[in-house]
């Protein structure tokens, strides 16, 4: 008998009597200002949050961006140069400084932003760059993860990640260090 058979048989015999899936826990949603709530949460988790009025305004910010060139993933402001990274090896992406990606769902309760595979260009991009920038539309904000998962078609893409803040660690004597193995900083643009 294969291990598969052995395990499934053992589980079938051992499992408790059937119980039903519960009803979703009901809670009162008093969301007044999603943009305000989301921005405040993003700032509280170690990231920058800038609210801009319209994609044109974001384009202006992008064009005037201080520092090294930013690879662009936001179709609304121009060519998606992140696609040049698509089939590249990790070593070729190592020197990437800043990347601007298009988030698709923003969660106000925890500041997390959903980036599906198709928005990364290369799955390594959101992690290997030093500075990560994410743009999200105010219309794409939801109060909690529950609403977020209702919006996402999980089977549509091969990968997706919720990104909440810059990479971090508190593994050394519980001292919070911003910037672990992923980006050292995150800036979020909420486009109204």
């Amino acid at each position: 008998m294969s291990s598969r058979e052995k395990i499934l048989r053992a589980v079938a015999v051992a499992k408790p009597p059937a119980s039903a899936l519960p009803e979703a826990a009901a809670y009162v949603q008093e969301e007044v200002d999603l943009v305000q709530h989301f921005s405040a949460t993003v700032r509280s988790i170690g990231a920058d949050c800038v609210v801009v009025k319209g994609w044109e305004a974001l384009l202006q910010v992008y064009l005037q961006y201080q520092g090294l060139p930013v690879l662009n993933g936001v179709g609304e402001i121009g060519e998606r140069t992140i696609m040049s990274a698509a089939k590249r090896e990790a070593s070729a992406l190592e020197s990437l400084h800043a990347v601007l990606l298009r988030g698709r769902v923003g969660v106000a309760e925890n500041g997390a932003i959903w980036i599906p595979d198709s928005e990364t260009g290369n799955r390594l991009l959101p992690f290997i760059c030093e500075q990560l920038l994410i743009a999200i539309s105010a219309a794409e904000l939801v109060p909690t993860l529950r609403e977020a998962y209702a919006r996402i078609d999980m089977k549509a893409e091969g990968y997706g990640v919720f990104i909440a803040g810059p990479s971090k660690s508190a593994d050394i004597e519980q001292s919070l260090v911003i910037g672990a193995h992923g980006p050292l900083s995150l800036r979020v643009f909420v486009v109204e």
């Binding site: 291990s3 499992k15 826990a25 992923g182």
Partner: protein, 459 residues
């Protein structure tokens, strides 16, 4: 004797009182952060109940969900393996590594691989993995086990880390600034990520309806490994499967808040299909879980989502440290899982508790940990795993309490000894109770004597 292992280790740990106080305060701070987060959600208790019920349902259909997960994963181009025990899991990993001739391996945090002793096994076969979670990286360099499932290096001070990095990474001697040390680790591990051929990860949640796996990190080390390497191996216990992606909207709201007091970890990565040119494997591991599932008193322990909240609140853990538990998973949850793996070796663990119940209070999936600790004690005593001293003293107590005469007599004896020969009981050698407690002042008379006298006076 297994009975003494935790107690002995804890006694050693407590020799450095200042350090123990620091350890306790550090962990209580993490508990406090969890409390603050939980109180911000009015629906917190409802979420706990919902999560517990989802797990309950899943366990009652576990075989079906495992098959569904497998089918969907296969459809996604993921290779699915089944391992009955730790040895088989390790052999499967070795097989994949050998097939690719891989020598450069990175691993993100996986308690399952700790449980299976994967690192040691691979080392015995001439292969080494680099643990990329900063905390695990530190303990790996120190050749220690993690002392906490979420905060592996919580038992170390920054000076300890500085010494370790000085020795292995040649960092500035005496520089124990956490940011400096973390940046040095970043640079060193960045090289390992870039050259890695295989990335091994754990699985926080495996979603049956789409064959996908979720991995949560703050550091981004799981993704740095997986997206750069040609091969991704994900190791998971069979109890990690959940029915639907929507259920993540419950579990991910509870996990980080319970674990570290964050609303969510920085990265919640959902792996469904391998990227082009990449090979993705998942290993479903039993290793005693089906045996635990068969026990009505203990099966709820399989609901565990490995948040570590029970560790942070447990007074025994806070004052004895993770290494006192001699197990991959320490703390209260470890104490109800470990005796199932090896009853003899881990017989001491369910006794390493005051049964205060705080663990059950903070558990996001409402595992009745403190009740299971008590239950294990019954099982262990019946199986003859209790210490002779405990067995005898319980028998004697049973006899004394069952006899009114013996009860009265022993009470009188105790009061007499306490008053006239206190040295007998006030001895740290003869009386273990006295090692960290004061003896009570002996009352002049027992309640019965007082009652009789009072009644006599009133007549």
């Amino acid at each position: 004797m297994a009975e003494k292992s935790h107690a002995k280790a804890a006694a050693l740990f407590n020799e450095d009182e200042q350090r123990v106080d620091w350890h306790n305060e550090t962990l209580w701070m993490v508990r406090s952060k969890r409390d603050r987060m939980a109180r911000q959600l009015p629906e917190w208790e409802a979420l706990r109940s919902e999560a517990s019920a989802i797990k309950e349902h899943t366990l009652s259909h576990l075989d079906e969900y495992l098959v569904a997960f497998e089918q969907n994963a296969l459809r996604n181009g993921v290779q699915v393996h089944w391992a009955s025990d730790a040895r088989e899991h390790n052999e499967i990993v070795l097989g994949i590594l050998r097939k690719h001739g891989a020598r450069r391996i990175v691993k993100s945090k996986s308690m399952l691989t700790e449980e299976c002793g994967l690192n040691t096994f691979l080392h015995d076969h001439g292969l080494s993995t680099v643990d990329t979670d900063l905390g695990e990286f530190i303990v790996q360099l120190r050749e220690e086990l993690p002392s906490h499932i979420v905060l592996p290096a919580i038992h170390l001070k920054r000076e300890d880390v500085s010494h370790t990095f000085e020795k292995h990474l040649h960092t500035e001697p005496g520089n124990s600034d956490p940011t400096y040390l973390a940046r040095e680790a970043r640079a060193h591990l960045r090289k390992r990520f870039m050259e890695a051929e295989v990335a091994i990860t754990g699985v926080n949640f495996a979603v049956a309806e789409n064959g996908g796996m979720v991995v949560c990190t703050n550091e981004g080390n799981a993704d740095m490994g997986v997206h750069a390497a040609r091969v991704h191996i994900a190791s998971m216990g069979i109890e990690k499967v959940i029915p639907r992606a929507a259920d993540l909207g419950v579990f991910l709201r509870l996990l980080a808040r319970s674990a570290t007091g964050q609303p969510i970890t920085t990265y919640s990565s959902h792996f469904l299909r391998p990227r082009e040119g990449q090979e993705m494997h998942v290993i479903l591991v039993d290793n005693g879980r089906s045996r635990q599932l068969a026990k009505p008193a203990f099966r709820n322990s399989l609901k565990c989502i490995r948040c570590g909240a029970c560790f942070n609140t447990c007074p025994v853990y806070r004052f004895s440290g993770g290494h006192s538990y001699h197990s991959a998973v320490a703390g209260p949850i470890g104490s109800i899982l470990a005796p199932n793996f090896d009853m003899k070796k881990n017989a001491d663990l369910p006794f390493a508790s005051s049964l205060c119940g705080s663990c059950s209070n903070v558990c996001p999936v409402k595992i009745n940990i403190h009740e299971q600790l008590w239950h294990w004690r019954q099982v262990l005593m019946q199986e003859g795993q209790g210490s002779l001293g405990k067995k005898l003293s319980m028998k004697v107590m049973g006899v004394v309490l069952a006899s009114p005469f013996l009860y009265k007599w022993s009470g009188a004896l105790a009061r007499t000894v306490l008053r006239y020969a206190p040295g007998v009981v006030k001895s740290k050698k003869l009386n273990p109770w006295y090692q960290s407690r004061e003896m009570p002042v002996a009352p002049r008379q027992s309640f019965q004597e007082w009652y009789r006298k009072k009644k006599h006076n009133e007549q």
